[in-house]
């Protein structure tokens, strides 16, 4: 009896370990029985579930950029207002986001030092990617740019999101009634406002970046919850094709989306690069803590997991 139990426990442990990716998608607890002892006339054999997505490299990094382009302006030649380096480990379902304050004063390859969000104006998404790579030490595999109205459409297309808001805040123009504290449901406009409001936040740009990560977390959870619905991922990809600037073809976006859909919301870790507010050349900027930024990049490079303490 004890041998049987040990056998079951060993098998369960091994299956749990090797089937980690499967657990990401399973959503329900599946226990692997011992087929040797299970009588065939008793249908107590529970199902086994696994999954994988072939994406190279195993840990993929995406620089997600919210452009503040106004109507008529080029989305990819405007300032990047929201900057998040998102890593996804397709083997484990882990994901991380490193928030970059948009006013970070940094070196821009080929140009004099400037705010990081000026890099896209100077050299498009590719230069912005290299600039952020210089900060965190991780080169993004993809740079995806969207503007806020399109971002609203994207969130609406997935049916809205739920975020955990640590404290109530509002904005007289974007959200006069404010966002309540706690778990709140946001539609596309709400997600946009939640991501953009800065002036009324005590932490300013840093707190806004953290709010953007809450929105990303909400998007990830929504995708994860609905990925099994027929056509859901396909519709999401089509929405991205229509609303985002990317040099990826629809097929590769589909592959990437399938990897994103495997992200386990409980394995998402986030940090915002810290820094000190300063005035340089008459500009109000943030002097980013580049030591911290590179430490975060180094920690997450291999497994898209950030340390508990940012």
């Amino acid at each position: 009896m004890s041998t049987t139990r040990r056998t079951r426990a060993t098998r369960a442990t091994r299956t749990l370990r090797t089937g980690l990716l499967g657990a990401v998608l399973a959503g329900t607890a599946l226990v692997v029985p011992s087929p040797e002892v299970a009588p065939d006339d008793v249908a107590l054999v529970k199902a086994q579930r696994s999954g994988a997505v072939d994406l190279s490299p195993d840990v993929v990094w995406i620089l997600a950029v919210g452009s503040d382009a106004r109507p008529g302006q080029s989305m990819t030649r405007s300032r990047g207002d929201a900057l998040q380096m998102v890593g996804i480990d397709t083997r484990t379902g882990a994901a991380s986001a490193i928030g970059i304050p948009r006013d970070s004063f940094v070196s821009i390859p080929g140009y004099s030092a400037n705010r990081v969000n000026a890099a896209m104006v100077l050299g498009g998404p590719e230069l912005l990617g290299r600039t952020v790579a210089g900060m965190v030490g991780v080169q993004p595999d993809y740079v995806m740019v969207t503007r806020f109205p399109f971002f609203e459409d994207l969130v609406d297309d997935i049916g809205g999101i739920t975020v955990s808001n640590p404290r109530r805040f509002s904005d007289s123009s974007l959200k006069p009634e404010g966002f309540a504290q706690g778990r709140i449901r946001l539609n596309g406009y709400g997600a946009m406002a939640f991501s953009r409001i800065r002036k009324t936040l005590a932490g300013g740009d840093f707190a806004r970046s953290a709010n953007q990560q809450r929105v990303l977390r909400g998007i990830g959870a929504e995708i994860r919850a609905k990925a099994d619905r027929p056509g859901f991922v396909e519709r999401g990809v089509l929405s991205v094709v229509q609303h985002m600037d990317t040099d990826l073809g629809p097929g590769e976006l589909f592959r990437l989306a399938r990897a994103v859909a495997r992200v386990d919301p409980s394995r998402i870790t986030t940090c915002v690069v810290g820094g000190a507010v300063a005035t340089i050349r008459g500009m109000s900027v943030v002097r980013p803590n580049l030591t911290q930024a590179r430490r975060l990049g180094a920690a997450a490079r291999g497994d898209a997991t950030l340390p508990r303490s940012c």
Partner: protein, 223 residues
């Protein structure tokens, strides 16, 4: 279908063709003798996997959700190709083998290298490996594929194949098993499986009618 207007047989033919293609929710019955090149077609019953009264089970392939613009003929063509790819996996991993079975090499045809590597780590879920050595026969009883298509500019860019394989075993273990999988595929000189989400376990005692209703495809084209 005949034309009520003797003067317009061609138009009637075209109209009829469109009606047939659109009204029959792109139901595509393929494999077996229909599809041809699939390695399992016509050889399933010869593989010795169902020695006790082999019967050929045709794969029922349907078009499910279609996102983006893709005409009915192309949808059907995509579904046929996807069904063929799924058949190759099922035949190699489950059906076309002599049981008892110990060897599971080359059982992931049509998988990308990374997906095949992952699948080899999931042999218990992706093949008959868990039961293979303890059974004498493995007979498929149901093969069903529903193909969700992502298309742009009248070209299929990616698909999700929702698949169901039910099989029955005999020997030391007599069991009815269901393999439910979603296969993620891109077209790279044929439909290639780059990812999967698979569940293998006892076939539910309730019939497939319930999930058939849920799974039945609906063409929801968006351009």
């Amino acid at each position: 279908m005949t034309s009520p207007h003797p003067g317009g047989p061609r138009r009637a033919l075209v109209t009829g063709l469109v009606v047939v293609l659109t009204a029959t929710p792109a139901l595509v019955a393929c494999t077996g003798g229909d599809v041809g090149n699939g390695p399992g077609t016509g050889s399933r019953s010869e593989a010795g996997s169902d020695a006790g009264g082999a019967r050929r089970v045709r794969t029922n392939v349907e078009v499910g959700e279609v996102v983006g613009a893709l005409g009915p003929v192309k949808r059907r063509r995509v579904a046929t190709g996807v069904g063929r790819a799924v058949d190759r996996w099922w035949d190699a991993a489950f059906v076309d083998a002599t049981y008892p079975r110990r060897r599971y090499r080359s059982v992931f045809p049509g998988f990308t290298p990374g997906a095949a590597q992952a699948a080899r780590r999931d042999l218990d879920r992706m093949t008959s490996h868990r039961l293979g050595e303890r059974i004498d026969t493995l007979a498929p009883v149901r093969r069903r594929v529903v193909v969700d298509i992502l298309a742009t500019k009248e070209t299929a860019r990616g698909v999700t194949a929702r698949t169901t394989l039910d099989y029955r075993t005999s020997g030391e273990v007599e069991r009815q098993v269901r393999v439910s999988a979603r296969l993620f595929m891109l077209y790279r000189e044929g439909w290639k499986i780059f990812g999967y989400d698979v569940l293998q376990g006892p076939k539910p005692t309730t019939g497939p009618r319930g999930d058939k209703g849920r799974q039945r495809g609906r063409d929801r084209s968006r351009s």
